[in-house]
């Protein structure tokens, strides 16, 4: 119960690095913590780094999709980064293609993706054209 996944703040974004094997309760705790943090900090984007995650099941897959949907409701983009090939294959074989989740190769690429979409959003909201 004491186990928690740290959520780091990096400017406008939140960074979650999953470095332990996910079990169901840990996933639920993360979901809870993350949504709270987003609303408290007003973060515009969430990066979930799962490069150390080696085992997934359908529950974890669904949790990733859920977190992405929840953050979008809270006005934050979610990017899942660093998924291992084995994990990707497993998710695909489970029939979970995570359609609403954006992905990137690593934290760097994910951060760039978030910045770009943030700019695009701002443009759209203020009706500016470059």
């Amino acid at each position: 119960m004491d186990e928690k996944i740290p959520i780091l703040r990096m400017g406008e974004f939140l960074l979650v690095t999953i470095q332990v094997d996910m079990h169901d309760r840990l996933a639920m705790t993360l979901q809870d913590d993350l949504t709270n943090r987003i609303s408290k900090t007003g973060a515009k984007g969430v990066l979930i780094d799962i490069s150390s995650l080696e085992i997934v099941d359908s529950f974890i897959g669904r949790m990733l999709a859920n977190i992405a949907s929840m953050s979008r409701v809270l006005d934050a983009d979610t990017v899942v980064v660093g998924m291992q090939p084995a994990v990707a294959i497993t998710l695909v074989e489970l029939g979970m293609s995570l359609p609403g989740v954006r992905t990137a190769l690593n934290v760097d690429a994910g951060m760039a993706l978030l910045r770009k979409s943030l700019e695009a959003n701002e443009e759209a909201e203020y009706g500016r054209r470059f």
């Binding site: 899942v80 980064v81 660093g82 998924m83 291992q84 090939p85 994990v87 990707a88 294959i89 998710l91 695909v92 074989e93 293609s97 995570l98 989740v101 992905t103 990137a104 190769l105 690593n106 690429a109 994910g110």
Partner: protein
């Protein structure tokens, strides 16, 4: 002491006693039928025949059925011979006939040995026939098995050879697929592509299927899975080289490729990948080239 089968032990005595004779006759016998001087040296053949007769004597001395331990040594010899003959280029028929051709010399030996007792001759001949038929069939089995081993090994080698992942540019990978895709191959393709994406940190992967003759639902499903898995890892996939015939098949089969970027040729896909990676190509003006020279 196990009970000795009287019939086989008679056979053993005959083989042991008349080994030289049988061997010579056997070798003569093969000149007309299965001798292949082009594939095998005479001395080697002689050694093999002699080995077989020795093991046969040992096997028949102890008696018992073909699968008993007494026959271990001869089975081992026959397997070895089959394997070497398969490698040397003998046909299955030639290899089996090699064993069957021992019949005539062996029967002659039995007849000469038991000339006073026609009943015993008949019994011994039946025993010998049964024995040699069994050995012949075993040889054929071993021959086929060794051929199958070769085929399987070649298949595995082809599997490894046929899935190279090529780095085209910084962050751009290409996977040219050639030949029919089946589940096992697609699995290897998928894994090697995803591994390469991680290793080279590539954002775009181009799967070129120019060399794939046909695409059915299973293959299309596998391709879609690969594309989805790559997307989950954060890389874009482009499928290129879809031939008109394949495009028709895909639509007729009702496979949804709408979410996948497809391009006609690898070149088109490469240009798109370059653009996505943020590069631009500029053709130099001829004038400038001359000026530089």
């Amino acid at each position: 002491m196990p009970t000795v089968n009287p019939q086989t032990s008679v056979l053993e005595a005959i083989i042991a006693k008349r080994k030289r004779e049988v061997l010579e006759e056997w070798l003569r016998e093969m000149v007309g039928s299965t001798r292949r001087n082009d594939l095998m040296k005479e001395s080697e053949l002689q050694r093999q025949c002699s080995d077989i007769l020795d093991s046969l004597a040992v096997a028949t001395a102890n008696g018992g059925a073909m699968d008993s331990t007494a026959y271990d040594s001869i089975r081992e010899k026959l397997t070895e011979i089959s394997r070497s003959r398969a490698a040397q280029g003998f046909t299955a028929r030639e290899t089996a006939t090699f064993i069957f051709s021992i019949k005539r010399p062996l029967f002659n030996a039995i007849r000469a040995e038991l000339s006073n007792d026609p009943g015993a001759v008949a019994t011994e001949m039946w025993t010998a026939t049964e024995l040699i038929d069994g050995l012949g069939l075993y040889t054929t089995d071993a021959f086929i098995k060794s051929r199958e081993e070769t085929i399987r090994r070649q298949q595995e080698e082809m599997l490894e050879l046929s899935t190279p992942v090529i780095k085209l540019w910084e962050g751009i990978l290409a996977l040219p697929l050639i030949g029919t895709l089946d589940s096992a191959r697609t699995q290897v393709v998928m894994e090697s592509l995803l591994e390469s994406i991680v290793q080279t940190n590539s954002q775009v992967a181009i799967i070129d299927i120019t060399g794939v003759p046909t695409v059915d639902t299973v293959v299309a499903q596998h391709l879609l899975k690969t594309v989805t898995a790559a997307r989950l890892m954060g890389a874009d996939c482009i499928i290129s080289g879809v031939r008109p015939q394949i495009a028709q098949t895909i639509v007729h089969l009702g496979i949804n490729l709408l979410d996948v970027t497809t391009k006609a040729t690898l070149a088109d896909a490469f240009i798109l990948a370059i653009k996505r990676a943020g590069f631009t190509f500029v053709r130099q003006q001829k004038k400038e080239v001359k000026h530089e020279d």
